[in-house]
């Protein structure tokens, strides 16, 4: 309800009711905000009783596992059926954990003439014998042919040999031409095949 009044200049003025619904709503809103702010800003924690004890700081460091090989690549010269030629490599475990060695990859030759590679048998052995690779163990660590399914990183073939941390061993990479090799491979050449040696923590 509006009521005409006179101000001090004698002019009509309008006064709105003090408790209009709009004013009440605003007031209630302001009060609610104020109470909430008071509660939220009062500081402290609302958790139940609790206590914490700090333990001394510390740092945990992980070691590593690594293998290195050194040696001269295998060069096959005058290979004939029934013969095996080998090259010796030194393999070193430079990590902090013992590793079970495996063949985790064999890359086919980059060049092949007369399909020599298809007739070859590749073999990998680990030996600690003084004779090195001149006398290979009776049972091969791994052997296969390029024509067969070869070990891969996801399907490594174990050499059943564990190399202790910091230890070295002799690795023999051999290639042989079986007596049954076809005569068509005569004069053939095979270049740049490789074998990857892996190690899994024992």
């Amino acid at each position: 309800m509006l009521r005409a009044l006179r101000n001090h200049h004698g002019e009509p003025s309008v006064r709105r009711p003090l408790f209009s619904p709009v004013n009440l709503a605003k007031a209630i809103g302001a009060l609610t905000v104020a109470i909430l702010a008071g509660v939220l800003l009062s500081g402290g924690t609302f958790a139940y009783m609790n206590s914490t004890v700090a333990l001394p700081s510390a740092t945990i460091k992980a070691g590593s596992a690594a293998l290195t090989t050194t040696g001269t690549p295998l060069v096959l010269t005058g290979l004939y059926p029934g013969q095996t030629q080998s090259a010796a490599f030194t393999i070193n475990n430079t990590g902090i954990v013992p590793l079970v060695l495996n063949v985790s990859g064999v890359a086919a030759p980059a060049a092949d003439a007369n399909s020599l590679s298809a007739a070859l048998t590749i073999r990998v052995d680990v030996t600690t014998a003084a004779a090195g690779c001149s006398i290979l163990p009776g049972t091969a660590g791994w052997q296969g042919t390029f024509a067969a399914t070869l070990p891969t990183a996801n399907a490594p073939v174990s050499l059943n040999s564990t190399l202790a941390a910091g230890a070295t061993a002799t690795l023999c990479l051999s290639a042989s031409l079986p007596p049954s090799a076809p005569s068509t491979v005569q004069g053939g050449t095979t270049k740049s095949f490789s074998v990857t040696i892996g190690g899994v923590q024992s």
């Binding site: 609790n50 004890v53 333990l55 700081s57 740092t59 460091k61 596992a65 990183a153």
Partner: protein, 206 residues
């Protein structure tokens, strides 16, 4: 005076009337005092029992007797179980009080944001647990949702300055994914470093 101020003043006056108008407005009135009792609150604290008595031990592949190591120079590898053993002092009083003792979350963090550090923290953080060696009957291992925690129930007797030996066990997983490429996933942790500066034991009312 604007509308908002007027409204607020009016509402405050109303609230003041409601709050300050306690009691009765009847003509006749009476009151009597009630003798109050004493209310004593309980207590819940966990504190260092004997500073500097903590020790780190390592079990290779989690078996055998732990060997004491100087962690600052030790290089961990998958399969290692590292245990930090320390005495703490627990006080828990409150007839109906129950609490849970646990390892503070996020206690294991990579020393840097490098891949090995972050990876190692992830591996170790998943397996960090807390054990209490020979706990008293008032402190029992939790199960189900409380697995990895200890439930503290002091009862009416209370637990007063009870020394308990806490073992923080951190396992470096091995062969998490057997059959994968020569343990490629675990290889990501090589040379990693994690910081345990925020390692803490929490005791929270439940």
């Amino acid at each position: 005076m604007n509308k908002l101020v007027k409204g607020a003043v009016a509402t405050a006056a109303g609230v003041a009337l409601l709050m300050g108008g306690a009691g009765t407005f009847a003509y006749w009135n009476a009151s009597t005092g009630i003798t109050g009792g004493t209310i004593v609150a309980g207590q819940l604290t966990v504190a260092d029992a004997t500073p500097s008595n903590g020790v780190w031990t390592v079990q290779t592949n989690g078996t055998g007797t732990g060997v004491v190591v100087a962690l600052s120079s030790y290089k961990a590898s998958p399969g290692d179980v590292l245990t930090y053993t320390k005495s703490v002092k627990i006080t828990a009083t409150g007839d109906n009080l129950t609490a849970k003792l646990s390892l503070a979350p996020g206690s294991i963090a990579g020393s840097t944001l490098s891949t090995p550090d972050v990876s190692l923290a992830s591996y170790l953080g998943k397996t960090a647990t807390i054990n209490i060696v020979s706990p008293p009957t008032t402190i029992v291992a939790g199960a189900g949702a409380d697995a990895g925690k200890y439930l503290v129930t002091p009862g009416t007797t209370g637990i007063i300055n009870q020394n308990v030996t806490v073992a923080v066990v951190i396992t470096f997983p091995k062969n998490v994914n057997p059959g994968t490429t020569n343990g490629t996933l675990e290889n990501s942790t090589m040379t990693g470093s994690v910081n345990l500066s925020a390692l803490a034991v929490n005791l929270d009312q439940s």
